[in-house]
Amino acid sequence: MRLGVHSGKAEFLLHIGNRNYSSWSLRGWLACRLAGIDFDEHIISLDLAGTAKSIAAVSPNQRVPCLFHNDIVVWDSLAIAEYLAEMNPDVAMWPKDQAARAMARSMAAEMHSSYMGIRNRCPMDMRGKVDPIQMPEEVARDVARLDAAWSNARAKFGTGGPYLFGEWSLADCFFAPAVSRCRTYGLPLSDVSAAYVKAVLAHPDVSWWAARGAEETWAIPPEDASEQKF
């Protein structure tokens, strides 16, 4: 089965996983929305047979998201973001100001490569809600770093709007899953970061995605999930 074939009529085709759990899919999808491109979206659903095979059929690294642009394939959400930014120079996907852009790129790359405490111990579960108790040390460390990074960007470049660099940018797309985790796990944040979390959750694209995720019926069994929680 060659799923890397356009089923709709759009120039771009984005393959994603389940909305509730796949944070990487959310980043890639938000980047496509921000770019303002026409794209078809194909969900490789976890509750149907052959997921691994379906993903392997379309994605070179066997993961979602994966973007097809005619015959060009781009995988990994950061590469997708940069490809779209390069293709759509008229859309300010990264901040226009050079210093702000440098910080935005650094923060997105850091989200991509770091924050392993949060990523491992607080997996994305957009519709979930966990009563906060004692955080493991690696989570507390990541939350402090996240809070500092968000507060710093807001203070230096956030005057033009409610997001990290004022207007909605790729930096916000990359932190959207972390924002969702802050809500799910009740992670403690400063007032500035808490306000940022609220703004991101209210963004039309994020809230649309979250609502669709809440409609998904497939769930990781509670006994597996409880092992993850703290």
Binding site: M1, L46, A49, G50, K53, Q228
Partner: protein, 85 residues
Amino acid sequence: MSIVLSFRGPSSSASPAAATQVTAKRPGIRIGQKAVSALWAWKTRLRNRAELRALMERADDRMLADVGLTRSQVADEAGRPFWQG
């Protein structure tokens, strides 16, 4: 087994809520027309399935779901012999 939604950019003035569902086609498998392509497919499958086995060992269920995979389906795919698609 697939769902396709279409999203339109701002020029067509549609919001995500206006995404329309279209029917997904299921193009047939196009492998094995030549021996070379069959061998190449076997090689790719061997590599992919070894990678899936390695991923299963180091990722828990939620980390797998994050990249769109489930353990049982990964195990099923990873355990298939290379001559089976």
